[in-house]
Symmetry: C2
Subunit: 328 residues, 2 copies
């Protein structure tokens, strides 16, 4: 098994194993969250296992990553987070202080996001049966009436908005893990985005939202193009990448477009009020560096095309293997 690490092999695993077995229309939508009816309410539901190594990295640790990641998966359909669950798999021998630090970070991140961790589970396994600590967080959220945000709902004409710089999280973990000497620190961008999403929904008409985590912005764009059957055209020069991050990517031969973010989103907004949405994003700290990076088009449906800085163009495609394993 080399599957499951975020590239084409994962997509294959999902398509050939999980989808046929668990056959149902909600899972088939392949959004980052499911939406389930509970009485009169629509409940968003999402789960993720976090296996990042090392547990602590510049800008964060596995605990706040797990909380923010789950809050963001809820937010990507416009849902207001209601509650979180946390399941811990602990390798025997993990220092109690390390676990306590992770748990405290989770509590702080949950408080900051205004959501409570209401249920959980802990399993300890013997040495070498896990790598220190895995955290699986699951969230439920309330989808507001009328909200219809889904990758499948992107339309030709939509303006594509990006909330800030890309590749910070992945390169923060990578440089820490490899002990790479670089000038200036690269910090993870882990943060909760549900407040930003609420402002955006208020300001305009949002059709599709993704937080480009595993697989990065490039993968999110490929997925939205496929789900909505639209073409995507983006401008490389418009995509903000920090100098330190760009330098580290070049050093390691990694394309920042396919590196994980943990506090950014990409939005497909109806063109009429896209400017208002962009202004609303820039008015908040999480969206301070927001930019328009391109358009959804009716040409080349299902395909995302990057206009390069030198005037050429390149079709984006999922990498066969994930470039960076265990980044989240």
């Amino acid at each position: 098994m080399g599957h499951g690490s975020g590239g084409r092999l994962t997509a294959q695993l999902v398509r050939e194993l999980f989808l046929p077995a668990f056959d149902n229309p909600v899972l088939g939508r392949l959004d980052d969250q499911a939406v389930v009816a509970a009485g009169d309410a629509r409940v968003a539901f999402t789960t993720d296992s976090f296996v990042v190594t090392p547990l602590f990295f510049p800008g964060g640790n596995i605990g706040e990553l797990a909380v923010n990641g789950t809050v963001n998966d809820l937010a990507m359909c416009g849902a207001k987070p209601l509650a979180l669950a946390a399941a811990f798999i602990v390798e025997e021998g993990l220092a109690m202080e390390e676990l306590a630090q992770v748990v405290d970070s989770m509590a702080a991140a949950a408080r900051a996001a205004g959501v409570a961790i209401v249920t959980g589970d802990t399993k300890v396994v013997n040495r070498h049966s896990a790598d220190k600590l895995f955290v699986t967080t699951t969230g439920i959220g309330l989808v507001p009436e009328g909200a219809a945000i889904s990758a499948a709902n992107a339309r030709a004409g939509d303006v594509i908005l990006l909330s800030g710089t890309i590749a910070d999280h992945g390169m923060a973990v990578m440089t820490q893990r490899e002990g790479l000497e670089i000038e200036g620190e690269i910090r993870s961008d882990t943060q909760a985005l549900h407040g930003l999403v609420a402002s955006m929904i208020e300001a305009g008409e949002i059709h599709a939202l993704r937080d480009p985590t595993r697989g990065g912005l490039g993968t999110s764009l490929c997925e939205i193009a496929a789900a909505a059957g639209v073409g995507i055209e983006i401008e490389a020069r418009a995509i903000p990448v920090r100098e330190t991050v760009r330098g580290a990517c070049e050093l390691l031969g990694i394309d920042p477009l396919f590196v994980a973010n943990e506090g950014k989103l990409v939005a497909f907004a109806a063109p009429e009020r896209a400017d208002a949405v962009l202004s609303a994003m820039r008015a908040r700290p999480e969206g301070r560096d927001a930019v328009a990076i391109g358009r959804a088009v009716s040409a080349h449906p299902g395909m995302a095309v990057l206009r390069t800085e030198v005037g050429g163009s390149r079709v984006l495609d999922l990498p066969f293997h994930e470039q960076l394993p265990r980044i989240c």
Copy 2:
């Protein structure tokens, strides 16, 4: 860390680390599930990581265990399961056929329970960073109007009902793992119990319910006594244990009262209609062997006492270490 494996050390970890950090009234109830308001609905919410070894054992595998375990945690507050999420942590090198078999079992168990797996996640980690496969399942369910089933709601006078034989699951895994030669096969009792619970609620007044998984029946009784502030008295001779299971327990020096079950429940029922509840249980295959095993009493609040077969009595207490690690 020797914590987290189901005995007193786990209770200490929860009390000293998780509860203070994640401080909130829902978690503080320490039931197997949280209940969260979503619009006008009450949503039950529960998560569990499954780390059982071996993955396949007589009577089941990690996949159906994960689905049934989560369905049962929802059922223990009377909730009707609405949807499940599944997160997989896979060790590189796991055979695709093994994963497919687990996934197919999960799908079959979910179909049998009438609930869909609507969202999920997969992470692959390198060899020796996990032990083959861990599955974390999370469930949401709808709590019916008026239902108020919680460990804290057990009352003196309640009749204590047990749905069948104990210790089957734990000893099935244990004998398989140790290659123990015994006469007759011991099979896991993994099954979904929400249908049984629905029949019981219809027949009488249920105050508290637990499925005695990790830590077994003994641990569930200690927890209910503590949560409700009642005394508990049970009769050893009334508790059904299969002969093969009893033999294996004796051989290994293990007390069946503290061995995991995965398809049994213990109920605290108001005495007036306890007989009707027991009849309703016996009318279903999951409750065919149901029995009354004792009473909640006002004497010795917080303490569970076992009347032994020879006429003595013994106070039940959580084992310091879990007797059987990685049984679920």
